[in-house]
Every structure is written in C-alpha cells, then in structure tokens.
Amino acid sequence: MTTTARPYVGTALDRVEGMEKVTGRARYAYEHSPDELAYAVPVQASIARGEVRAIDVQAALTIPGVIAIIWHRNAPRLAPADNAELSVLQSARVAYRGQYIAVAVAETLQAAGEAARSLSVDYAGEPHDTELRADHPGLYRPEKVNAGYPTDSEHGDPDAAMEAAPIRVDATYSTPAEHNNPMEPHATVARWDADGLTLYDSTQGASAVRATLAALFTMPPANVRVIASHVGGGFGSKGQPLAPVVLAALAAKHVTRPVKLAVPRQQMFAVTGYRTPTIQRVRLGADVDGRLTAIVHEAIEQCSTIREFAEQTTTPTRIMYAAPNRRTTHRVVKLDVPTPSWMRAPGEAPGMFALESAMDELAIACGIDPVELRVRNEPDADPESGEPFSSRNLVACLREGARRFGWADRDPTPGARLVGRTLIGTGVAASTYPAYRSPSQASARLEPDGRYTVRIAATDIGTGARTVLTQIAADALRTSPDRVTVEIGDSALPPATLAGGSMGTASWGTAVVRACEALREQVSRSGDLPSAGLEAAADTKEEIGAQERFSRHAFGAQFAEVGVDVDTGEARVLRLLGVFAAGRIVNPKTARSQFIGGMTMGLSTALFEESLMDREFGDYLNRDLAQYHVAACADVRDIEAVWIEEDDPHLNPMGTKGIGEIGIVGTAAAIANAVHHATGIRIRDLPIRLDKLLR
C-alpha cells in the first residue's frame, strides 16, 4: 500500500461544525423533543448485593403527572443478552450498589424526579465484597483480556534472568478506579412507532447501538434507528450500549410514548463504566549498562459479578522494550462492584504508569539518564511477536523532546532544586498506543449540482472526525472541502465501527477513500453526469482482513516539569511537553487538540482522579464533580504537543495512526518521575496527593 500526500490532508481546517457548537445550535441527544414526550428518572439499588423483594409505588403514583413506575415485576421482557448489564429490570437480583432497579416516568422532569425519590424499596440484602486486594482468593486467570489479547505471555526464563541480573527493580504500583465523566451525561430520547424504535442517543457508535437494541427487543436491525449527531465526549464510556439506553427504550415501550432519559451525574459513577483499579508488580532485570535482560509485569484488577471485563494492563509492556526473558500476566477478581469498562487508553494508561515509573527507577539504579536508558533498550522488531514494526519512532520522539525541553543540562540528583519554598523536578516517560483498524462501509455521491455527499455511520465525539473525513474525502475526490458534505452520526448511514480504540480516522477514512475512488471511477466511465447524480459505495472488510502482518503502534515521549510545595506537599505541573510519532497527521489543529486533551487528562490522572470505594456500603463515595476532581483550567499551565513526520506505508490509504488515546499514556509516569526528581519521594500509588508527599 502506498500513501500519497494530497492538498487538504495535512492542513489546519477549522472544525466544520464549529459554528454550530459555539452558537448553541448543535443538538445533542437529550435536546430532541418529539411530541407527547415523557421524562424518565432512573432509580438505583441502595444495597451492594441481594434482591429487590418489593417496591412500594403507591406514594409515587399519586404524584401529579406521574405516568408509570417500572421495575422488574412490570417491565417489558427483553431477549437474553451476552452482556448482563443490558438485562435491565429483568430480575430481582442486585449485583452492585447503584444498579438500576426501577425507573419513574412522568409528564415533567420534576414529577419524575419526585416519584423516583418517593419509592420505598424492600431488599433482601446479602453480605458483599467490594475490596480489590493482591491476595484476594477469588483472583483468576481470564481466558483473554480486552481487545482480544492473550491473558499471559512468557518468553525465555524471566525468573532465572531476574535472579542473575546485577541490577534489579522490583516494585508494586497501584492505580485507583477512575471515572470517564464526559461533560455530557449519557442520554437517550427513545420513540417507538409503527416502523420500530428511533433513538437519539449519546453514543460513540450508532451502528453498534442499533445491533444491540434490535437483538434485545427481538427486531431486525432495520427497525432500529440510532441518531448521534453531536456527542459531548465519551472517552470510552459511550463506546458500547449500557443500561441507560436500554432503560430509555424499555420505558418508552412501557408507556407507549416517547421518553427522555439522561443519567444524572451522580448515577454515572455506577452505570456508565469506569477504569478498573489496578495493582501491578513490575520486575526489571538489567546488566550494569542498563540493558534489560528480564521484564516481568503482572497486573491485578477487578470486574463485576455479572460481566467479565479484563483490562489489557500489561499489553504495552509486550512491545515496549527489548529483553530476551519476559512475562506479562493479568488476574481478575469478580467483586460486588459496578462493571468496569473502557476509559481512554484502557490498559495502556495504567500499565504504562507502572512500566515507565519502573524504567525511571531502573535508570536511577543503573546511574543512566532515563532518556538514554530507553534508547538503549529499543527493540529491532516486536519483542514478543517478532513481527516488524510498520514504523517505530520512539527514539526520535525521545531525542526531539529532550532537545525541545532542555533535558541535556539535567542534574539527576533528586531533591536538589529548591526555588523559594518549591522543589522543582523533571521527568520523562514513553507513550504508546496500537494502530487498530476495523471494517466499515461508506458511500460517496456526486450530486446533480456538482457537490459531493459522503455518508458513513461514524461519530464525532469531539475528535474532529467530521472535519478530517471531509479533508480525506476532498483529497480522494480531487476537490476542495467546501464542496464536500460528510454525513455521520446516524445508523441509517452505511454501517461503521465505533469511535473508540483510536481507530476512527483509520477505519472510516479507509472506507471513505475507497467509496470516493469508486465514485471517481464511475464518473470517468459515465461521461455526462446523470440528472440523479452518481453514487458509489465501499466496504473495507476484505481489505482489512487481508492486510500484511506488522506490529502497528504509535509512540511518543512526554516530558514534565513539576513544582512541589515544601510546606504543603502540593504538586503542580509547571510544564508538559509531548512529542508523538503517529503516522500522517490529517489536521494539525484538531490533532494538537487531541494530543493536548489526552495529556491534560493524563495530568488529571496523575494529580487528582480517584474514585474511593466505601467497603461498608459497597459504593463509590465521591460521586460528583465536586468530590471526583478533574483538572480545571487553573491546573493546566504550559502544555504543548508536537509530532515528528512519519511516513508509514503499511497502515491505510491515509498513512494515519490513531491519536485519541496516546496523549494520556505515559503522562502520569512522566509527572510521578518528575515528582521523584523534585523531592526524592517515589509515588507508586496514583494519584499524587499532597498527603503522600508530606514527610
């Protein structure tokens, strides 16, 4: 496959929907109001395990405007689902505190809310276990981990190599549960009519929601339409249909009226997924020159009792550094907790915090500069699969970052730079993320007026998908972006993969290019443009199935400078630089925003984010944005992202790698490493709270 530069790919086009978003005209899911609309407010279980014996709905039904209280006794029946999270109100069982047990439907939001609060629920509670521990007897080896990776990997004799290594690092790191918290809460407007079900849904993938809901309600997918024109962020939490969208459809069916349902922010901490907490042991063995002889990375994580979700925490370790002896493992325990799911760079983000912190510890143990240590352990090919990398420019990122950041003058001594009452330090860490691609379909149409319309059920959750697909289509059609309209966000369009796994542009772009190429061929064959226009379609299933075997990953290097207040222990990120190698960058403006956005969330992970489990009641305690802290404007100072040119012919027609997630990978390690450099204190447990820095 060859990639060719075209005039519009690579230019900083403003977001095509920018004006709609800044004027308030862009409509998100909840902002559609069909006639006869009713409002739904869900009710959550207040026990962590047991059964709902009965719900007294009498008081609720007397509230003016209340239409129905739906719970498992009167809920419409759903077909069985592979994901038990979707079997909403189908049984009396409660698998975690916060699981949906009922929904109140009323004429107004206020009446529905009052009804939901007035329900009296009789539970048969059972003892629960919500605590993740490294010695939990329930830990088991899942069959595979998320994204289909093998659970464990082993090469050589890592135990013997560790034993023999002159330099060793053996440390345990932990990361807390974290909640995605997109600004737009999950929301659905559901309407049933003679044709079936229409959903305005806040989702990362309309095609997947259509397929799932059709199966649950035993209908052909053609009878379900899912519209997601604008989505207020997702970060993985809207990547697959979960309980709320099912509840909305079920409520609308029960009351035979259109229903609106938005998940209140507090409820998002139980029903919309989260990043599993992890406990990770990393062992690195090296010779005195810092060359790794052994890498062992073992992760422990949690999932719920009703759905296995095993995050691929140690998979980045499989490709990062050369070492002949290696082992990676994942062990999971099923607890009475909400079901974890995808959160921006699931696996890579927590896994690389541990690995890249351990690499910093190894650099210190060997007395080698941490940039140099990484360069020294650069592999020639994928260290586990043996496959060649389609392109790998980690070293270039490290070198360019070191140059821009002013790394060369760094004194490695920890705790040695006091400015006023602030200790200053710098740190580095590597980033990586796989370059996935998934089959999608698209159509391209030459309209009678000479304009083009490109259709694909892609989603723009803020990534700039609509904009970059416009650029890609313009180049493929040999026209300009202002003559191309890209229609996305609707399951009635040609089916496409979700906005997830950083694979949107690669997957959708391939389908768009192929459809546009097919259209150009038709145009050249047909001579005169027929009055109805011309249309062509493409399906990339075969092309992607037949792609050559390569290890495809984006890489990056992040450099952080922190200041730690000697008296309060407060850590602040003064400077953050990311240098990335992620194939061709389609739009430098939106790409920079993606990288910086990921790094900002990484900064937030490093310093603030932590969902605290209450063992007594089996609940995440901090369930709002006042208690679950995400970075605010004042927390983010000097942050910059740049990239190096990468021409990789083994990816896709555009030559792109995904960029939505790599920005969050490695940030927390770079910051923790900088905090160590500033203070001499090694923080192995995120977040880097001030109480951990006060000695």
Partner: protein, 166 residues
C-alpha cells in the same frame, strides 16, 4: 405552577413553570433554547452558565421563578445576527473546544468574566487588588476555573479568551 414573562436574548417568553424548576430546565425543556447544557445539575461543572443582567450565573442553581424583570442572555444570544461574537470566532480559530458540550458555558462565562475584569474586580491571583486587573494567562485560568472541560481544551480556551481580552 406559576405564570411568568421571561426576557431572554432580547425576546419575551410567556411561560408557566413549576416552582421547583431551574432556569436551565426552563430554557432547555420549555423554550427549546438548548444551548445551555446540563453537565451536573449541581453547580459543579459550569456547562449551564448563562448571563443574568450581564453577570454569569449557573442556571442549574437558579430557580426560574426568581427571574421576574431580569435580562437573561444565553449562548444563542451572543452573536450579532449572523456575525459571531468575537469570543465565538476566537474559540473556532483557536480550536478551544472538542466535543462542544462545555462550550456554551465557557463562552457565557468568558463574556461575564471580561465584564468583571473591565469593572476592576480582582481575582485570587491578582497581586494588587486596587489596580486595574491585567488579564494575563494566569488571571484567565483562575477566572475560568468554574467551567470544566473534560476534553482538555483549557490551553486553547485561555488562548482564545486572551486574544479577545487584549
């Protein structure tokens, strides 16, 4: 339920509202003015920020029945016809948003913030509270910290507002 006449973006809207109803729900659910967003409904995220008599308020914490005789401005009212407000244009130019869900609140907040600074109001990072505030990056970051952005567009938001403030 209460009968009211609301003044929004220069237009008058007769409405019948639930006395428990917030301005945010009135705008979004009764008047189809869906620019103001509901992110938390608890005054913690800022997505619902609108201007009441020129001052920024969180519409999710404001009961509609308290707004008799008040002038409400939402993001729909910032542009001058087809000409975007300078902040709206700057947000596009600096890519100061991604998903766009916090954007209406950021914009209304920025309009209110610029007015506060012009009126001489200091912030917690203002060194000389008696002097005219200078809206450097630190001041803008501090004054805009009531509006969360999960996509992480803060640096671009600060750049966009900085351009307009100068």
């Amino acid at each position: 339920m209460t009968d009211m006449l609301l003044s929004i973006n220069g237009d008058e809207y007769p409405v019948v509202v639930d006395t428990r109803e917030t301005l945010l729900d009135t705008l979004r659910e009764r008047l189809d003015l869906t620019g103001a967003k509901k992110g938390c409904d608890h005054g913690q995220c800022g997505a619902c920020t609108v201007l009441v008599d020129g001052r920024r308020v969180k519409s999710c914490l404001t009961l509609t029945v308290t707004l008799d005789d008040r002038e409400i401005t939402t993001v729909e009212g910032l542009a001058d016809g087809d000409r975007p407000h300078p902040l709206q244009a700057a947000f596009i130019a600096h890519d100061a948003f991604q998903c766009g869900y916090c954007t209406p609140g950021q914009l209304c907040s920025a309009v209110g913030m610029l007015a506060e600074a012009a009126a001489g109001w200091p912030s917690v990072v203002t060194e000389d509270v008696c002097a005219e505030p200078v809206l450097d990056e630190e001041e803008i970051r501090e004054r805009m910290s009531g509006n969360l952005c999960r996509c992480g567009a803060y640096v671009n938001i600060v750049a966009a507002i900085g351009e307009v403030a100068r």
